[in-house]
């Protein structure tokens, strides 16, 4: 097997495991254990990047279901935002506003609502530009991080 064939074989197997499938010829238990490891690791990194996710009911299952169909493309922060954009379940603030705004930027929606303090309440896509419109909401006593997604915690080895 050449280097290229090895790379392709690893990619095929990894893709199946990330989807939750058993790659052809593999023992079902071994593949299931590995899928569990990969999903747990990915979810724990995402939740470390956005700790607000930890208190959301059902979100671990929602994340795992989504992750099974969507390989990770960037860092843990990117993974969180990609998930939020795709997820339709209930979310607390500021996650709900981040989802709404990001959907407009990605042109999944043309208009979104931003309920975060000190943000303009409406986000509108017009042509190739996105506008944040309306009066800024009053500042609250606690000032959340503007993006709402704090830095990632460490990782294990």
């Amino acid at each position: 097997m050449s280097r290229e064939e090895l790379a392709q074989r690893q990619q095929d197997v990894l893709l199946a495991l990330l989807r939750g499938d058993v790659p052809a010829g593999f023992d079902q238990r071994s593949a299931a254990l590995t899928t569990r490891v990969l999903r747990t690791k990915r979810r724990s990194e995402a939740f470390a990047a956005a700790p607000q996710l930890r208190g959301v009911p059902d979100v671990a299952d929602r994340f795992d279901t989504w992750a099974g169909a969507h390989p990770r493309h960037g860092c843990a922060h990117d993974d969180v935002v990609d998930f939020l954009v795709a997820d339709d379940g209930p979310l607390p603030e500021p996650l709900a506003s981040i989802r709404s705004v990001e959907r407009v930027y990605r042109r999944v929606r043309t208009i979104g609502r931003d309920r975060r303090p000190r943000h303009r309440p409406w986000v509108v896509a017009l042509g190739d530009r996105v506008w944040h419109v309306g009066p800024r909401t009053p500042r609250r006593r606690v000032d959340p991080v503007r993006s709402g997604v704090p830095d990632a915690a460490g990782k294990n080895s």
């Binding site: 097997m1 050449s2 280097r3 290229e4 064939e5 090895l6 790379a7 392709q8 074989r9 690893q10 990619q11 197997v13 990894l14 893709l15 495991l17 990330l18 010829g25 593999f26 023992d27 071994s30 593949a31 254990l33 590995t34 569990r36 490891v37 990969l38 690791k41 990915r42 990194e45 390989p71 990770r72 493309h73 960037g74 915690a153 460490g154 990782k155 294990n156 080895s157």
Partner: protein, 290 residues
């Protein structure tokens, strides 16, 4: 037997931001060995407590987690250069990585990283152990060694995946790897216990066939055994008696003044936990007659 570049440094703990102050205190009280995840530090701006501990005589091994040396693609030059830079910044006598792949596929020449046809695993994944895979791994390790300023040690990972094409067992595979490349072996006893619990095999019997003459240092970590009997190497739980017993056997074989032992505790960690767990490791090592 090739003497480890860090032999005789005793028992240490991995550097983590949450316990940085405690590890600096441990260093001032005599701890001489640690390890830092290379991807988590900027060589030109080492964390303050880590820099202070280095000045205090602590030996710190940069530990890479993203090279993916068992992958089909050659190791990335930028990642290698970062590992090398961390080694220089910490004055490390050694760096370490894993026998694993972490991404799969190969970018077409000229394709930028974000749009390459490369799938990220997000974790360490065991590769098939075949003669062809070994040849690619040996090539990758040699490429890494040629770009690193210090020797390289490679770690056995906790594996749950059994490839159907595997034709070489792990001890034989790792022995062939160290013989072909001259790399050191980072023996993770918790990973070995985890692999045997998931895939079968006697950890102690496998351990005795590992390339023990090339051990640079030893990892131990906590975890838990689930109801099905699979041990999960979480780095977030306390050390189990099974892993400590395996560590005791390693120290019996290698000697108490041989390769140092490093505690890995990544999450659910504070100063008191590190102190307690380090004491448990030290007692396990000290139980072995000199």
């Amino acid at each position: 037997m090739t003497r480890s570049p860090v032999a005789g440094l005793g028992v240490g703990a991995g550097w983590r931001p949450a316990v940085a102050e405690e590890l600096l205190t441990q260093t001032r009280n005599g701890m001489r060995f640690s390890e830092v995840v290379a991807e988590n530090v900027v060589p030109s701006r080492l964390p303050e407590q880590l820099a202070a501990a280095l000045r205090g005589g602590l030996t710190v091994v940069p530990h890479g987690v993203t090279l993916g040396l068992a992958g089909g693609a050659p190791p990335d030059a930028a990642r290698l250069d970062h590992l090398a830079a961390v080694a220089r910044a910490t004055g490390a006598p050694l760096v370490s990585e894993h026998v694993a792949f972490v991404r799969a596929g190969r970018p077409d020449p000229g394709t930028d990283a974000l749009h390459a046809d490369v799938l990220e695993a997000g974790h360490l994944v065991p590769a098939a152990r075949t003669p062809d895979a070994l040849a690619v791994l040996v090539d990758n390790v040699r490429a890494a060694q040629s770009r690193l300023p210090v020797p390289l040690a490679l770690e056995n990972i906790a594996a749950t995946l059994a490839w159907p094409e595997t034709s070489i067992d792990e001890p034989e595979f790792l022995t062939a790897l160290t013989e072909a490349t001259g790399c050191f072996f980072l023996l993770d006893v918790a990973n070995l216990h985890a692999t045997c619990s998931a895939l079968g095999g006697d950890a102690r019997a496998q351990l005795d066939r590992m390339p023990l003459d090339r051990v640079a240092y030893v990892h131990v970590a906590g975890g838990f055994t689930d109801p099905s009997g699979v041990y999960w190497d979480t780095h977030a739980h306390d050390l189990t008696e099974e892993v400590l017993a395996l560590l005791g056997h390693v120290v019996e074989v290698l000697g108490p003044h041989g390769p140092p032992v490093l505690l890995e505790r990544d999450t659910d960690v504070d100063a008191a936990i590190v102190r307690t767990e380090l004491d448990r490791v030290r007692r396990a090592v000290d139980r072995v007659p000199a």
